[in-house]
Symmetry: C2
Subunit: 420 residues, 2 copies
């Protein structure tokens, strides 16, 4: 084997070229119990069969903040935010004194492995649910890259593909629907059937997970849908690696009322009006289903106020940990210049807000479920093949999914064929 020809190195990691087509799926907000409960309810017969017949099931840690963008970017770069720079949807540009949305690939500090594989002549496809992720994940990538949200607007020039509604056979779904994710899976199957990319990345949206608990009918219906498409991908010969960007927890009391700590109000009271600036990196243009409430916040404040603020925040019921920038950078592998002076993480039943008046909770028609904290860090790592050569003491991450699918899948049927 010619190792130089047969593998691709990106961001300090080496990946073997795919033998069979490899499909990596990031199921947004997939707390592992969603799959466990769907299997229990008989709603995921393919996964049940696959996992009991040679498939692999592991648990990995996602990136904290356990939000969508940092984790999707970690998965497609294979590295933590300290390397790729995306620590949330927002950061505060201190010099410009403004809150900046990090949707622009200009903020990306590392190439994606999708781009690197495409560059090396591997055919690559990436499909996201929301368009906010598409530009970031597709950055520098030659191949197919589109979002379900704007599937009707895909052009060959921009997305490497067009006439998608015809290909997939579905109308453009609402951005707040399970259908948006179904479109992603259906597109993945149709792409494999018609163009057979060597490497496919499918990334869904957590609309259902924000609303429905594991084991409930609505959740099981979602996973039954997913199960059917995974079965088709498997039947088409794909090596499937499935993970999640983050887990999901109820963020309410037993009565279903959101448990919110309004950090800006607390800090205004203790440090003086506007002495501190609270940034919620979950905030993005699509907040209806979670009211921009997650379990991770970062705070910019004068150095002299840090110790006092830390004491105040640590004593609040519902706060899990308060870390300085340096502690957070070390513990969560974040980029120090993209987070504030303090990082606040709340517990599995609590979310962090700025001020009550700045959160519109009228869209919460069911009890709030959300993420962002350490309590949503555990995610599934599933493969429809046995794995080999994985050190059992290794701390697995969701952003190891391409490494596992490309370098550790072993199967007489297929797998590391090119590496032989």
């Amino acid at each position: 084997m010619d190792a130089a020809r047969e593998s691709v190195e990106v961001n300090g990691r080496r990946y073997l070229r795919p033998g069979a087509p490899v499909v990596v799926v990031c199921v947004d907000g997939c707390e592992p119990d969603y799959i466990t409960q769907a299997i229990q309810a008989g709603a995921a017969p393919y996964l049940q069969r696959m996992l009991s017949a040679g498939g692999s099931s592991l648990i990995g840690d996602c990136v904290v903040p356990s939000f969508t963008n940092p984790n999707n970017v970690s998965i497609v770069t294979g590295v933590p935010p300290s390397v790729h720079g995306i620590c949330g949807n927002f950061f505060y540009d201190v010099e410009a004194d403004r809150e900046v949305m990090m949707n622009d690939p200009a903020y990306l500090r590392a190439p994606t492995l999708l781009a690197a594989f495409a560059q090396a002549g591997v055919s690559v496809a990436a499909v996201t649910a929301k368009d906010k992720l598409r530009t970031m994940l597709g950055h520098g990538m030659k191949g197919i890259c589109f979002s379900a949200e704007k599937a009707d607007k895909a052009t060959i020039a921009e997305c490497g593909i067009d006439r998608l509604l015809e290909l997939v056979g579905m109308p453009v779904p609402s951005v707040y629907s399970a259908d948006l994710s179904e479109f992603v899976f259906a597109a993945g199957v149709r792409l494999l059937e018609t163009r057979r990319p060597d490497l496919t990345y499918l990334s869904t949206t957590d609309y259902v997970q924000h609303k429905a608990a594991p084991g409930t009918q609505e959740a099981n219906d979602f996973y039954a849908m997913m199960d059917g498409y995974l079965e088709q991908l498997d039947a088409l010969g794909a090596v499937i690696g499935l993970t999640a960007d983050h887990g999901m927890s109820p963020k309410t009391d037993a009565a279903g009322r959101p448990r919110v700590i309004y950090l800006q109000e607390v800090l205004d009271q203790h440090l003086g009006e506007r002495a501190a600036r609270v940034i919620l990196p979950i905030t993005d243009p699509y907040v209806v289903h979670h009211g921009a409430l997650g379990s991770f916040a970062t705070v910019y404040l004068p150095a002299a106020a840090c110790a006092h603020a830390t004491r105040v925040l640590q004593d609040l019921p519902g706060v899990d940990v308060v870390l300085t920038r340096e502690q957070a950078v070390e513990r969560f592998e974040l980029a120090g210049d993209r987070i504030g002076d303090l990082v606040v993480v709340s517990d599995h039943l609590t979310v962090l807000g700025t001020s009550a008046s700045r959160h519109d909770l009228t869209g919460l028609t069911v009890p709030l479920r959300s993420h962002g904290g350490i309590s949503e860090q555990k995610v599934p790592l599933l493969f429809n093949r046995p794995l080999q050569g994985v050190d059992p003491t290794r701390r697995l991450r969701n952003f190891d999914v391409f490494d596992l699918a490309l370098n550790h899948v072993a199967s007489p049927r297929q797998g590391l064929r090119n590496a032989a």
Copy 2:
């Protein structure tokens, strides 16, 4: 008001005598989402109505280890294990070199408030699901105290009541059943109807919670059953305070396989055979539904080996924290002579075992759900009345439930009547 006459002091806390009958319910393993999901599913119409019409809903922290005995004892004493001494079901008696079960009230270092109220002339009743708790909770108490498990054997001499099956109208339930808890609720209603105790404590079993996730049919059926009995208690004029001994988490990967760290095996490998002794304080005579696997363990080992063992254990994927005895005593308010040299807590998807050969998992017919860790520390605190005078910054505990029900319930209808 004559404060000395009208209140009872026990373990350094003062409780007003009940005005209306007070019923405190400890719902074993009641992760708050069980109630949220039951309400969402329409299975708990009484709780839904009660909580939207003047009832109170709070979240409190239980005692870690989040096990049944330490928490039930904390609830009925109003103090943490550092005062009452019960840190688990088992401890290792170093001098006698044997593992000792702490079911015997001889291990109790503080009187219960049930006993103190009875002593002060208040009529008291306590009903537990399993008999293991009855002797502990009823220690020194004059009044009615029996278990559903041995309801047919209750005598006036031992339990302050007899002919229970006739009173309740149910047969003795299996110790592994939802019926065991139903018997507790039904007995509570019948006691209130026939004897109207001033103070009642009802404590159920988590058989259902170990098996069924929040929002699933089996869980909702349990909470629908509970809801009906709570409605009856309310209609009989009771002030109801409801909490839990601990929460409940899935302890599996997505495939439903238990995630177990076998600590004795790890320590034998690193420190030498039997250099360390691992104690699992969840162990008791009823282990079928959880295989004696929980998220809290304590380790006895030579002082010289502590630092090494800590490093080894902290690096294990699935371990949440490793604390020295002193750290654990401080953080969890435990009794230092009833725990080992180290305390190990695992994460929300992981449990701790001794050696694979010592755990019988054949009883696990559904994916393991268990407790014991920090991830199961949040429990509901519900009241069918408004509360007054509760400091919003106070860290509430499940063992504040009697304080809240007796000292903070406010209602024009009833409540602090005797205190007027």
